[in-house]
Symmetry: C2
Subunit: 209 residues, 2 copies
Amino acid sequence: MARRSFHHESEETRRNDLIAATLDAIAESGLKGATVREIAERAGVTPGLIRHYFTSKELMFQAAYRSVVTTMFETADEAAAAAGSDAVGRLRVFVLSNFKPPIVNPRNLSLWAIFISQIPVDPALAAIHREGYLSFRDRLGGHIEAALAENGRNLAPGELRYLAIAINGLMDGLWLEGSIAADMFGEGELAHIALSSVERLLGITLAEK
Amino acid sequence: MARRSFHHESEETRRNDLIAATLDAIAESGLKGATVREIAERAGVTPGLIRHYFTSKELMFQAAYRSVVTTMFETADEAAAAAGSDAVGRLRVFVLSNFKPPIVNPRNLSLWAIFISQIPVDPALAAIHREGYLSFRDRLGGHIEAALAENGRNLAPGELRYLAIAINGLMDGLWLEGSIAADMFGEGELAHIALSSVERLLGITLAEK
DNA sequence: TCTTAAATTATTCAAGTGTATAATCAGGCA
DNA sequence: TGCCTGATTATACACTTGAATAATTTAAGA
């Protein structure tokens, strides 16, 4: 049996490759399929090498989850930042970005659900989730506050917290159902429902002029 | 080694015991810990017996998921049915029941997330989910329609669908975050947020007189 | 060029997995 | 009573898993 040829890589790209392979394996075949051997093969590497970069499979999973969480946050964040100067427009784009690819796709649902399901039995994953959730909600709160101010409305701080929690929950729930069963909803239907619901909750209009 | 004593049970209670043991094992230690041996031990039974009641572990899991879905649906449904004669009150109770025990607890989150995470790789579970989701949303839609009618408002059918999807998503998302990290929210805070958000989305008041 | 440390592979191991099969027990019916 | 069918247990099997270890190759520095 011919020996596999060596292929040296920088530490950073190797770690990224291994994380990507981990996510691919999880998304495609679930936790059950995400074995060390399967991941190694996807990364074009030998199982043993994984131990060289990650002390244990558990730690590699944590790194992979961290990458998922930050990706989802940054996607919405960058979309809003690129949206222009008016606060209402930024809030609209921030909300809508969660109902378009690459956020809404089966792969993300798989990854998200599998990691969520591990939270109750893995405190490290719980901490990663909390950090990502709070970052997202804070950013959402900032957009809400700015959009309302642009309409001449000021909020008590407690009110802002309530609205951010509610709208964040709404977006989570709609994203979830849309990802689980996209065929149950029309094209753009969930995005439209989300946007008009946010309008009612805030009492302002978000639609483009 | 003494042989385990026989214990005859009716087919129905045995199946229920096995399903309960399966759910306990999953909730406590995740998919990884829900092995045939572990489940058998929790049920006070030998691994081989499981094969006598369920052709495969997969089928047993499907039965277990079905039990979770119907339980969550029936809890809200029965609460609303027992709420009295006014439609607004029934809608209020229906919404609130999702933010109280036994719906909000770590065990349910574990179970829910684990099964959701299996949906992308198990079409049978996907079908069970869809059935439960539609039942729940239809029932919610019925309560919404009745509550609005009680306030003298009639809806176009499309409008009702939108509202049911939005409120269902809102409840899902809030329940989810509350279950993942209950300590991030005050006592009754999520229930209050849910109720007042539904009020704004519907344009009617739900609070008790 | 030689040496050394790090990166990568190959091999091995013990534990655990779902499932199949055969032996054993209990209860119902002749 | 005695037997027979189904429920239940015990055992065995083939396979997979994550991890440990030893062997091999590469890259870099003196």
